[in-house]
């Protein structure tokens, strides 16, 4: 009986996951179709760029600054043991540009902006505001979802670029304070060993993560049914789905990108 229940549970879970994945895929198709030709509500796009980008800046900057510091402090022990001070800039830069920067900032962005976006869209859905838009002959996908997807993608790319720079300066500051290294050592270690490809690798990841967060947060927002309890569940599902997709996409992108 226990085995049967387990199999039923796994089956239900798998079906539910595929259903959600199917829903996100359909919504992605609708968004791509709405982008041709790229007609969208400019005020709505600008409003989303401002509140998603500008307002995320302080928390992303703070996180990035200390992430840079953590990278250096963690490396400190090895640097002393191996007398490899010349590798600190390269190590920190490589990790920040390619992996830690995009991934951590994407997770922060998902928690702050993605969840907020799902809650807002889900509330609009359960209070019939989306039907209100349709009744005004305005396509909710074109008017609400497309600007949000674009805004989240653009914002995350910009935040990752900015976060990378702040993380590097954070790392440099902690390296000078904790490891007693000179700024010039760190600088040349970075610029001599890190190429544009490392930077672009992270930027591409940021774009993909931004789109993934946007699609999952919008999907769970517009597909919610029921009342306030369902809004909470939708936010929860969106954050979990975004986190899982960030990790999975990170794996595949790391494997595929040069």
């Amino acid at each position: 009986m226990i085995g049967e229940g387990l199999i039923t549970g796994i089956g239900r879970g798998t079906m539910a996951a595929w259903r959600e994945l199917g829903g996100i895929t359909v919504l992605t198709g609708q968004v791509l179709r709405a982008l041709v030709p790229p007609t969208m509500d400019r005020p709505e796009l600008l409003r989303n760029l401002y509140r998603m980008g500008n307002r995320s800046l302080p928390i992303i900057a703070l996180t990035a600054f200390f992430v840079g510091g953590i990278m250096v402090v963690q490396a400190g022990v090895l640097v002393r043991q191996l007398n490899a001070a010349g590798l600190v800039g390269w190590g920190a830069g490589y990790a920040i540009f390619r992996e830690v920067g995009p991934m951590l900032i994407a997770l922060m962005f998902s928690g702050r902006v993605g969840s907020n976006n799902t809650a807002e869209l889900a509330t609009m859905t359960v209070t019939e505001q989306l039907d209100g838009l349709r009744a005004l002959a305005i396509d909710p996908i074109r008017y609400l979802v497309v600007p949000r997807v674009l805004a989240m993608t653009i914002c995350l790319i910009c935040l990752v670029i900015l976060g990378d720079i702040i993380a590097l300066y954070g790392g440099a500051l902690f390296a000078m304070l904790v490891l007693d290294l000179e700024y010039a050592t760190l600088h040349y270690s970075l610029v001599d060993n890190i190429g544009w490809l490392d930077f672009i690798h992270g930027v591409v990841k940021a774009g993909v993560f931004g789109a993934a967060i946007a699609m999952s947060s919008c999907y769970f927002g517009v597909s919610v049914r029921g009342g306030a309890v369902c809004v909470g569940k939708a936010v929860n599902a969106a954050v979990v789905a975004a986190a899982i997709s960030i990790v999975l996409l990170d794996f595949f992108l790391t494997y595929l990108l040069p």
Partner: protein, 277 residues
């Protein structure tokens, strides 16, 4: 009566509803034998009625009988399981989502909870359809929105956010937003529910003015008997998923039908079957 009202009556014994012929000469909107179910629950079981130009047409009935469901079919928010809907001589129930947009520009809807957008001021809410459909620039749309809000006596709150206003004020703003589309028809889903009597009568007056002054056809879903008996041209009473009785105010006031009388009188005892009670 500006329009030739027809009077049709279902079973006076309350043994079950009958399909009634509710055709109206020169009708703008026709529902023909509409069926709709949600899962296993059958809501509409053959709704047929016709609504004329410039009419104020009320759809009444107990909660859950399918009044809101019926009007949502008109703008494609719900799709019929079977039956036909005709608007201005053209069948519309089989249109796809994209082709429904021109219909929605001619048929506006004021929802029960107004559905104004929380992130926008009243003026921005009303300006939205103007920007989208009337090709007005941002400033022109805001100026036109101010005029529309003045028409519904909301000129003092044009820059307020919906959350800071009362239900009645939000509903008036929602009417202004719908009027921005210059629709031929406006659907009202319980426009006076939850309002104080003064606000409710103001909404009634607005609906009547829209018909008399602007030539707008109004279809109003309501339980509010004061509204019904003060501004309705014709009334359709839904019971058990069908139009049980359709007629003008006098037909309902003078009816001998026990079920209709029970509903209008608001009596808990009577032949009317109300699921869940």
């Amino acid at each position: 009566m500006a329009h030739g009202a027809t009077s049709n009556q279902g079973s006076p014994t309350g043994a079950g509803p009958r399909a009634t012929s509710t055709q109206q000469a020169d009708s703008l909107i026709e529902f023909r034998d509409i069926h709709k179910a949600f899962g296993s629950k059958q809501i509409l079981r053959g709704v047929s009625m016709a609504i004329g130009h410039k009419e104020v047409f009320f759809i009444i009935g107990t909660s859950g009988v399918g009044k809101s469901v019926t009007i949502k079919h008109l703008i494609g928010l719900l799709r019929v399981d079977s039956g036909e809907i005709h608007f201005d001589g053209r069948r519309i129930d089989d249109l796809n989502e994209k082709n429904f947009y021109p219909v929605r520009k001619r048929i506006g809807m004021v929802f029960q909870h107004a559905t104004l957008f929380d992130s926008m001021t009243l003026r921005e809410n009303v300006a939205l359809p103007l920007r989208k459909h009337m090709q007005l620039g941002h400033k022109e749309a805001l100026a036109e929105a101010s005029v529309l809000l003045e028409r519904v006596h909301m000129q003092h709150s044009i820059d307020a956010y919906p959350a800071t206003l009362s239900d009645g004020m939000r509903k008036r703003a929602a009417i202004a937003r719908t009027l921005a589309m210059k629709p031929d028809v406006v659907l009202f889903d319980e426009p006076t529910t939850g309002l104080d009597p003064v606000s409710a009568r103001r909404i009634d007056r607005l609906i009547r003015e829209m018909s008399d002054d602007l030539g707008v056809t109004s279809i109003v879903v309501s339980h509010d008997l004061d509204s019904i008996f003060s501004i309705a041209d014709r009334i359709a009473f839904l019971y058990q998923g069908q139009v049980y009785k359709c007629g003008d105010r006098a037909d309902f006031e003078n009816t001998d039908d026990a079920i209709v009388r029970q509903f209008i009188g608001g009596h808990s005892q009577g032949p009317m079957e109300t699921p869940g009670f």
